[in-house]
């Protein structure tokens, strides 16, 4: 989408209009636009329809604060806005018919890998899961509108990369990808990388010649006893 970058502070920021009447009018328009739509409305779209010289972001933030305690909240989804019922009221609205798409375990796993690792290639997804992605898994996610082709990796073979969509944010109530649960910790632990982080600790296999305090050296006898030596003692070189 060729949207004019919307969070770029237009002329507004320098000398924003503070005329409360115009601000109120702008808020009404923004409110009407977002309220009237079921899907998220992009900030750029709203901006185009506000009186000139009004800072959209300012208006949207005021509106968001206004609705914060109400039964319907204004939520930000990437560069878009939507009204959604307050999560704590789900018990009143939920009916027997309400039903969300059921995802298989595999699809869910692939979805989170794409969300946390994007842009990610199919080979990388398979590397993380250690198994080939069955046909149809990505298909289901794309059909749901949560996953999309993003582009191509600038590496040999130029593999296609996958990423998530705005509908994904909307569905899972995320303002931004940065709000993915635990994202920072995972990053910090180096778990969103393809390489073993330098601080990754694997205490178990100590070097062969080192023994933990509570450990006895393993002997050939032990190995046989444990059934670890395959017939013919191939391990024994």
């Amino acid at each position: 989408m060729a949207e004019p970058e919307d969070d770029a502070p237009r002329e507004a920021d320098g000398g924003t209009i503070v005329d409360p009447r115009r601000l109120h009018e702008a808020a009404r328009i923004a409110e009407a636009l977002v309220f009237a739509s079921a899907g998220p409305v992009s900030q750029a779209y709203i901006a185009e329809r506000l009186p000139r010289g009004v800072d959209v972001l300012h208006v949207m933030r005021e509106l968001k604060a206004l609705y914060a305690g109400r039964g319907v909240n204004l939520v930000q989804l990437g560069d878009s806005w939507a009204f959604r019922t307050a999560p704590d009221l789900s018990f009143v609205i939920r009916t027997d018919e309400t039903e969300v798409r059921k995802l298989s375990r595999a699809a869910l796993e692939v979805l989170s890998i794409i969300a946390y690792h994007q842009p990610v290639t199919r080979a990388e997804i398979e590397d993380i899961r250690g198994v080939q992605t069955s046909k149809g898994t990505l298909d289901v996610l794309m059909e749901a509108g949560w996953v999309r082709f993003r582009g191509r990796r600038r590496s040999p073979g130029r593999p296609v990369t996958f990423g998530t969509t705005r509908d994904f944010l909307d569905h899972f109530g995320l303002e931004d990808l940065r709000d993915l649960p635990g994202l920072e910790e995972l990053k910090g632990a180096g778990l969103l990388s393809g390489r073993i982080p330098s601080n990754f600790q694997v205490p178990m296999p100590l070097r062969e010649d080192e023994l933990a305090e509570d450990e006895d050296p393993i002997t050939q006898l032990d190995l046989e006893e444990l059934g670890l030596l395959t017939p013919g003692g191939k391990e024994d070189e």
């Binding site: 969300v100 250690g130 694997v202």
Partner: protein
């Protein structure tokens, strides 16, 4: 560590039932993760050796009761058998393969990473979801046209239209007979899977591949196809080969061009 071994012994029975449940696992890493959990230790503190052993025992049993295992599982078995030998046998002076510790660390990392993604997935689905916990305007009054075009179509629509169109016209009736030889592409796929697991050092993997990936009846065809596929991968620069002398073990390592069309798991930046 001894405790863990006994633990594994004591679990003989449950492993039996695991074998039957094989279909419930999402591939070898998933199975390993499950086995690691039964060690009831933090993932960073698992005994990789014990884990490898448990996995191999598991695979042996599955084969004994003639459960057909997907290549993924066997590739992992070959790799783990190699890892085991690396961990148990003192390092030879002239041996420049990856150390057992490095291999173990890489396995532990992959398990940890997969587990992290599992947890993330759980946290994700448990969020307040649209249409279940949170609701949109039920009576929308307009649909903002954010694009200049007055036509709506997504990339997915476009691609699926194209795919099904081409497919419709391409289908010809071909029946492929099930054969009990390894095709070149079978072998290639298996080797490609393994390349991902290679570090940049030489590894003498061939014997393990043969041990886990073919039953004796298939061994000849497996050797032939694996070797031919190896040569092909070498030619494409995705694999390097080394043999120190006639009848010596053949060493493999990742070539200079690891990322192919489909695989090559290390292209990230």
């Amino acid at each position: 560590m001894a405790d863990l071994w006994q633990d594994a012994e004591a679990r003989g029975l449950s492993e039996e039932s695991l074998v039957v449940d094989l279909a419930g696992f999402e591939g070898p890493l998933d199975l390993l993760l499950h086995l690691a959990r039964t060690q009831k230790v933090d993932l960073t503190r698992i005994s990789v050796l014990a884990l490898a052993e448990q996995y191999l025992v598991f695979i042996e049993r599955a084969r004994k009761i003639r459960i057909e295992l997907a290549a993924d599982y066997l590739v992992m078995a070959a790799w783990l058998a190699y890892l085991k030998s690396r961990l148990l046998i003192p390092r030879q002076a002239k041996d420049d393969g990856p150390s057992g510790e490095e291999m173990a660390a890489s396995l532990a990392f992959r398990l940890k990473r997969l587990e992290a993604m599992r947890d993330a997935a759980t946290r994700l689905v448990n969020r307040n979801r649209l249409g279940r916990d949170v609701f949109a305007r039920g009576m929308p009054e307009h649909i903002p046209t954010e694009r200049r075009s007055s036509f709506e179509a997504s990339l997915y629509d476009l691609l699926s239209a194209y795919s099904s169109l081409r497919q419709r016209h391409a289908i010809t009736h071909v029946t492929i007979e099930k054969r009990n030889v390894w095709s070149l592409s079978d072998a290639r796929e298996i080797l490609s899977l393994l390349i991902g697991g290679f570090e940049d050092d030489w590894a003498a993997l061939d014997s393990f591949i043969l041990r886990y990936l073919s039953d004796p009846a298939e061994r000849t065809t497996a050797i032939a196809s694996a070797f031919a596929a190896t040569l092909e991968l070498v030619r494409e620069g995705r694999l390097e080969l080394r043999q120190d002398g006639a009848f010596q073990p053949i060493y493999l390592r990742r070539g200079p061009k690891p990322e192919g069309d489909e695989d090559g798991s290390d292209g990230r930046g």
